[in-house]
Assembly symmetry: C2
Homo-oligomer: 271 residues x 2
């Protein structure tokens, strides 16, 4: 782990990331030492920093540290955390903000191949996503809703939980964005009131037309295909949700193939 | 600072308090080495721990560490943080949870006497409180809404910002609970959808009848008195909000006096 460029595995207790969750993170697949979709991750980190009134990121420094950390990483997960740094007690920001910058490498999870080929089993969570346009879309460090939702089940046969918002609209998975297919068209939830605007979600929007609209569990019951995605798992179809079986996966498979090609391209043409 | 009983000022980066804001905190006034309303703070911490599925707190251990830390503290602020401890990457809780327990002492803020006698100036924040019954009322570590709200102003003449919820209802201050008086009756917002159920708020409920109801900024314009409270500031009347002056403060002053008596009693009869 690198904390502001130094090898450490601790952070100050007075760091506002710890005191208030006052910061952001990115989770990135590293494949053959190459961070995949790095430009997109850094772009989001930069944009979210501005929304949180954090000082401008030094992206060159960040890129150089990422390169340093990943040079022998092989297949791994790179996590970046940026916080508002240490400050006095109280919500007020310090007059001079010195952000904390943390990079860490983690083993790539050993997901069974069947999650990709056959799909996963999902459930619907009781824990709801609160509505807050000021924070919606950001990958910030306030993640208790996801922790509470993920704590609802302990059955290893279930790989993801679907989260509704306060008004019952389907938004996303605990760790993924969610799409569904109906009559060849692709749909997902708008993220203006809650949810995290994932990098893979953005990538899917570039592959084919996606309609953002409010929808409910009933709409998922009528769907032809459902899939979830994030930067680490890639794309998993859902083969079973609440006991219902989804056997179609044509669009899901096409996107999985395109994603695999994109990742191979990034690994091959990396500098 | 004490981290799990040891003097340290850092915490593991993999601590879930840092990774996800997965934990709780309490902020307690220490007066003449005595933590004020300690029973109430520990009771809330215990109750919120259960809501977050944290392991049962060892309250005897916590009390003994608090006594150790406060024995020469004089007038200070004691902060307690409890997190879900370190765990692997991902929202899923570790199978064995070993909570992190942090106690820290901070100087008591040097508030001018006029905040108590004449009241403070407050403003209305743009940042809204999201709605989430699963987290409402708890003093958890996901506090970005408060950080964003407090970042809205930098004018030292303004001491507190009033926060509305997603639907425009008045809920609380960025660091306080809020009450208003109309025709001798006391009102405050229900906290079933958002907000923090403060210890001082609970104490006010024990002093006189309080009506919990939904209200809006217009209701505050019509109010006779408004005050805010928390465990560190005690009770401050609001003398000016959005340019409007509030000159009455009879009930506010009565509660301030009663609170001062209660604190003196706790200091005098402390063991």
């Amino acid at each position: 782990m690198l904390v502001n460029g130094e090898q450490r595995d601790t952070v100050a207790i007075m760091d506002r990331g710890f005191q208030y969750g006052d910061g952001l993170f990115e989770t990135i697949e590293v494949r053959a030492n190459q961070p995949i979709f790095l430009q997109q991750h850094l772009k989001r980190l930069n944009a979210d920093s501005q929304r949180l009134y954090l000082p401008k990121l030094d992206l060159d420094l960040l890129r150089s540290e990422i390169q340093q950390l990943c040079q022998n990483a092989g297949h791994a997960v790179l996590k970046i955390i940026i916080t508002r740094g240490s400050g006095g007690r109280g919500y007020r920001q310090p007059d001079v903000i010195q952000p904390t910058r943390i990079l860490s490498l983690h083993p790539f999870p050993d997901y069974p191949q069947s999650y990709y080929s056959d799909g996963i089993v999902a459930r619907v969570c009781q824990t709801r996503l609160g509505l807050n346009p000021d924070l919606a879309g950001m990958k910030h460090l306030n993640r208790l809703e996801q922790v509470m939702a993920r704590a609802e089940w302990n059955d290893a046969a279930i790989q993801e939980g679907i989260m509704l918002d306060f008004n019952g609209r389907v938004i996303e998975g605990t760790m993924t964005n969610l799409f569904y297919v109906k009559n060849g068209e692709l749909f997902t939830a708008p993220l203006n009131l809650c949810g995290i605007a994932g990098i893979l979600r953005g990538w899917v929007f570039e592959q084919m037309p996606v309609m953002e609209h409010d929808f409910f569990i009933d709409d998922l019951c009528d769907a032809d295909e459902i899939f979830v995605c994030n930067s680490v798992i890639g794309i998993w179809g859902i083969r079973e949700l609440n006991g219902q079986i989804y056997s179609a996966n044509k669009i899901t498979q096409n996107l999985q193939l395109a994603l695999e090609n994109e990742k191979q391209k990034q690994v091959t043409y990396a500098i």
